[in-house]
Structure formats: structure tokens, C-alpha cells
């Protein structure tokens, strides 16, 4: 599934919820189902800077695709993290660099993208793009 199809799928998936309760419960479920991050990766150097909840993020290059793994100690943040992994993991560096997570607005969760929200999501996206840029230069060199 390409990045555009993934976006459409997420938007459809969240479209069925009528109120915030259902939406957030689904988000928490997505977090619960996220592939676990190995314990040895829960380290300071993998922490994404966020004021309130902690997010750990790792990335590796497989062929020309970037694979992300992540975790958070807060349930709602972890759900958002799971969405970001679904959206950005397994893409080429260019796709990651060039695509904004506009779907968050379409599913009514853009409030979490505010830099003042302090849940680490904005920093996580920034970190994903930094990884993508690093891998891009690695591929081209």
C-alpha cells in the first residue's frame, strides 16, 4: 500500500466514529497492537524530546526503505505513534521527507500536532524526517 492509500485507509477507518470517545478508544487499541520495541532500545539516546510523555524511536534502512520502531509510556501518545509508524515506516527517504501527516487533520486529531501540546508527536515526526535525510545521503553516497 503506498503512502496515499495508507492515508485514505486511515481516514476511512476513523470516519466511522461518531464521537471522540470511540476515536480515542480506537487510537489506544492501535497503540496496544503496535509491535513492541525491544527493551534494549528503551534508552536515553532513542528518546524523542517531548515535555510530558516519553517516546522512543529507532530507525534502520532495509534496501531503500526506512523501517521505524517506536514506543511511548502514555497510551494516547502510543496510539498516535502507531499511526505515524503505519504512515511513515517502510517508505523511501524521499516519501518520508516530502509527505506531511495531513491525515491527522482529516481524522480530527490535528490538536496533537500543536507544538505546545508537548506530547512529543511533533518532535517524533521531525526525528523521523531527520532519519530519512540521513539515510538518503547514505544511499546516494
Amino acid at each position: 500500500m503506498d503512502i496515499k492509500q495508507t492515508e485514505d485507509r486511515i481516514v476511512r477507518e476513523f470516519g466511522i466514529f461518531e464521537d471522540w470517545t470511540e476515536k480515542y478508544k480506537h487510537l489506544i487499541k492501535l497503540g496496544d497492537k503496535l509491535d513492541p520495541l525491544p527493551p534494549e532500545d528503551h534508552i536515553e539516546s532513542n528518546l524523542v524530546k517531548g515535555c510530558q510523555s516519553q517516546v522512543w524511536l529507532t530507525a534502520r534502512l532495509e534496501g531503500e526503505k526506512v523501517l521505524f520502531s517506536a514506543d511511548s509510556d502514555a497510551a494516547i501518545t502510543k496510539g498516535l505513534v502507531a499511526l505515524m509508524i503505519r504512515f511513515y515506516s517502510g517508505r523511501t527517504p524521499d516519501e518520508i521527507i516530502d509527505t506531511k501527516p495531513d491525515f491527522l487533520g482529516k481524522i480530527g486529531l490535528s490538536e496533537h500536532l500543536s507544538p505546545t501540546r508537548s506530547n512529543g508527536l511533533v518532535s517524533m515526526i521531525k526525528q523521523m524526517k531527520i532519519y530519512a535525510m540521513a539515510f538518503k545521503s547514505q544511499i546516494s553516497s
Binding site: 471522540w20 480515542y24 510530558q52 510523555s53 509510556d73 502514555a74 494516547i76 508537548s118 506530547n119
Partner: protein, 415 residues
């Protein structure tokens, strides 16, 4: 509570007081707002908003330098606030009241001006484990530049300063004691009289971070005999960007200016500049005039109710909230001192504070979550952060009941 006070208390119509605050009349996320984040910033009564508005509409001009009527009027209005602050905290002289941008700025002023002049290699500054970052970092920065060291008074499990340790830390090397008066996280009211007395016995000056104290009780700087006292307007029904440093005149007089620019000078030549007198020596540049004018009205407003009455009402709400929260299964209060201001930090079993705060927000309940700018204190209790309900006199029992209901709902949500 004595009978006289009880009589005054019953004559206050708290519903009417609440109606003075337009922000509280709204719905948030479709629910009536219960604003319990007063420790971060309190709301403005209509009289303060109107005064700031009137200032911008009819009275604005720069202060302290105009010969024209508008400027003189603005200067008068702005300087009125200084008289009101002096009276509020019972300082001896008006020039002991320095306008700053807030508590943080006030502490930075003392650290940079007093600290740079007096601290040297091996000197010690005493802070505590419960300090807000604003009363740690400025001292750390000046310590790095002067070779001084920070010494830290530990906190016990109830959230009180371990006074024995404080006494042990006091020595000939101590050059400043800088402590929080009321903890923004734990609510603990520290024994500041005792702290000051012990420091003064060794001729050590004391700075108190009063950001969470002045809004909730009557503070008398002469009675305390405190050397420096810092607080913010926006935590006491005033505007943001405005705060106070109180300092004893004899200390402020001998301190060098901290920032250079207009207003703080006497005479400038390229060879040498001489400083203006107190308080202007520390007030470089055009200040937030409207905020100062507004803050004067905030003080009038608080005085109309009376700081003692405010303290009583907040203690009543604190007791009500503590009892209700203690009854919630799986809820742990962090900070159980017997002497507390109306601040309650708590944790919910198995629920991250951010998650709980998000759900409470959806229910129209505003609380603070996170480390509350006190990371060393979080480390002390070995927790990532807390939820914090900070109560003001304009809150009511219904706000507390809604908080408790919201917590029960949050537990269900993540259950």
C-alpha cells in the same frame, strides 16, 4: 477559624465572585469549564480586563520621560501599582518594589546582579529539592560563572523540607539561601520564618520564590524579614509579563544594574554612565505599562475580598478536594504535608498523567499534567510527572465534584 472570621466569610457571595471572571463562563469541548490550573496562571476579573482596555483605548503613552499630559498620566497610573504592591506585602519603601517580567525574571535579576558581585569560587548557594526550575537554573548559571556551588535541601516522603539537613548545610561558605515559599507541585507551605532566622544568624541573605504564596495568603516581607521576595502578577488575577522583585533597600542600593538601556540611567557618555536611583536602576527599557496598570487593579480586587478571606476559602476548598480525592480508589496524592496551599498533585494507578489530562480536558476540566518545571522533585519521588489540580477562591465545590467524576470516567476509559 474564629467567630469573627466566620461572620465575614458567610457574608461573601462566592457565586457572585465567580461571575466576575468571564473566562469561567464558557464551555470547553462542549462541557462547562472547571478551571483547576490556577497554579500555572489564574484568570482575570472583568475589572482588570476593563482597566487594561481603557488604558489602551484612552491613556497609552510612554512612561517616565514625557512632558506631555498623556505621558504623565500613564506614568501616574503605572506608578500607582508600585504603591499598591508595597502596601500588599508591607514593604518599607516604594523603591524596594522592582518591576520585572515575572518571578523567573526577578530571580535572574538577583542571581546576576547580587550573585555576580558577591559569589566566588567555593561559595555555596542553598536551594531545595522542591524548587521550580526558575529557582534552580539562574543560580546554576551564575554558579558556573563564579565557581560557586549549589547545595540542596532534601524533601521527605510527605513533601516537607528536611530541616535538620538545612541546618547542616548552613556554613560560612553559604552566600545565599534561595527557597520556594509554597511548592507549586506539592502545595507545601515551607517554614520560612525558621529558615530566614537560621540564615540570618549567620548573616546569609534569603530569597523566597513567592509565586505560589502571594496569591493565596497575606505575605508581610517586614514581618518575615526576608531579603528578596519574587512573585508574578499572572498568578494573582493579573496580566502576564509582569512581576515583582522585592528587595531590602540596603541590598538593592549596593547591587549593580542587571540590564542596560533607557530608564535605568542617570547620565550617559561614551566614557561612563551613571545609574538612575532605585527602583528604576533595575528597570531598563520601556516596560509593559498596561500590564502594570492592570496589576494595580488586580491588587485592589483581591483586597476588596481580603487576602485572609481568600486564604480561608481556599483552605476550605483544599480540604473538601483532599477528602474527595482520598476516597478515589487507585489515586495517590503526592505531597501530604499538614501545611498546604490549595494545590493537589496526584497519580492514578496504571494511567499516565498525560492520558488522564487529555480525557479530563475532553470533559471540560483543566488540570496541569507533567513535571511542573520541577524535574529534580519528580526524580526525588521517582515519578515521570503528576496531575495537578490547583484551586483558586473562585472555584467551588462543583468544580471539585466534576474533577472527581472526570477521574472516575478516566479510570473507566482506560480500564
Amino acid at each position: 477559624m474564629n467567630q469573627g472570621n466566620e461572620h465575614i466569610q458567610t457574608s461573601i457571595n462566592w457565586d457572585e465572585i465567580r461571575s466576575h471572571f468571564p473566562v469561567l463562563q464558557q464551555h470547553v469541548n462542549g462541557k462547562p469549564l472547571s478551571y483547576l490550573d490556577n497554579g500555572a496562571s489564574s484568570e482575570l476579573p472583568q475589572v482588570v480586563i476593563d482597566r487594561i482596555n481603557a488604558y489602551h483605548t484612552n491613556e497609552h503613552a510612554n512612561v517616565h520621560r514625557g512632558i506631555h499630559s498623556l505621558s504623565q498620566h500613564a506614568t501616574d497610573a503605572y506608578e500607582q501599582a508600585r504603591k499598591k504592591v508595597r502596601a500588599l506585602i508591607n514593604a518599607r519603601y516604594e523603591e524596594e518594589i522592582i518591576y520585572t517580567t515575572g518571578t523567573t525574571d526577578s530571580i535572574n535579576l538577583v542571581a546576576n546582579s547580587y550573585g555576580r558581585k558577591h559569589f566566588k569560587e567555593g561559595d555555596e548557594i542553598i536551594v531545595s529539592e522542591m524548587e521550580h526550575h526558575a529557582n534552580i537554573v539562574p543560580w546554576q548559571m551564575i554558579a558556573e560563572q563564579t565557581g560557586a556551588l549549589l547545595k540542596v535541601v532534601p524533601v521527605d516522603d510527605q513533601g516537607e523540607l528536611i530541616m535538620d539537613e538545612y541546618y547542616k548545610l548552613l556554613s560560612d561558605r553559604t552566600k545565599m539561601v534561595a527557597l520556594i515559599h509554597v511548592s507549586n507541585v506539592l502545595g507545601t507551605i515551607n517554614p520560612v520564618e525558621e529558615i530566614i532566622e537560621a540564615a540570618h544568624a549567620r548573616n546569609i541573605p534569603v530569597l523566597l520564590d513567592g509565586a505560589q504564596a502571594v496569591p493565596h495568603s497575606a505575605v508581610d516581607v517586614q514581618n518575615l524579614d526576608v531579603d528578596f521576595y519574587a512573585f508574578s502578577a499572572h498568578k494573582m488575577c493579573g496580566p502576564t509579563g509582569f512581576g515583582i522583585l522585592y528587595g531590602k533597600k540596603e541590598l538593592l542600593d549596593e547591587m549593580p544594574p542587571y540590564r542596560g538601556g533607557g530608564d535605568m540611567i542617570d547620565k550617559v557618555t561614551f566614557e561612563k554612565t551613571t545609574w538612575n536611583d532605585l527602583p528604576h536602576k533595575f528597570e531598563a527599557g520601556t516596560p509593559p505599562i498596561a500590564a502594570g496598570v492592570g496589576f494595580g487593579v488586580s491588587i485592589d480586587y483581591l483586597n476588596t475580598i481580603g487576602m485572609e478571606i481568600i486564604e480561608q476559602r481556599e483552605q476550605e476548598l483544599l480540604q473538601y478536594a483532599t477528602k474527595k480525592l482520598e476516597a478515589v480508589d487507585g489515586l495517590q496524592i503526592i505531597g501530604t504535608s499538614s501545611k498546604k496551599a490549595s494545590v493537589i498533585s496526584f497519580l492514578l494507578d496504571g494511567i499516565h498523567p498525560t492520558d488522564a489530562g487529555t480525557i479530563l480536558d475532553k470533559e471540560g476540566i483543566a488540570v496541569r499534567t507533567g513535571h511542573h518545571c520541577a524535574q529534580p522533585l519528580m526524580d526525588r519521588f521517582n515519578i515521570p510527572g503528576t496531575l495537578r489540580a490547583s484551586i483558586s477562591f473562585y472555584n467551588n465545590e462543583d468544580d471539585i465534584d466534576r474533577l472527581v467524576k472526570g477521574i472516575e470516567y478516566t479510570k473507566e476509559f482506560f480500564g
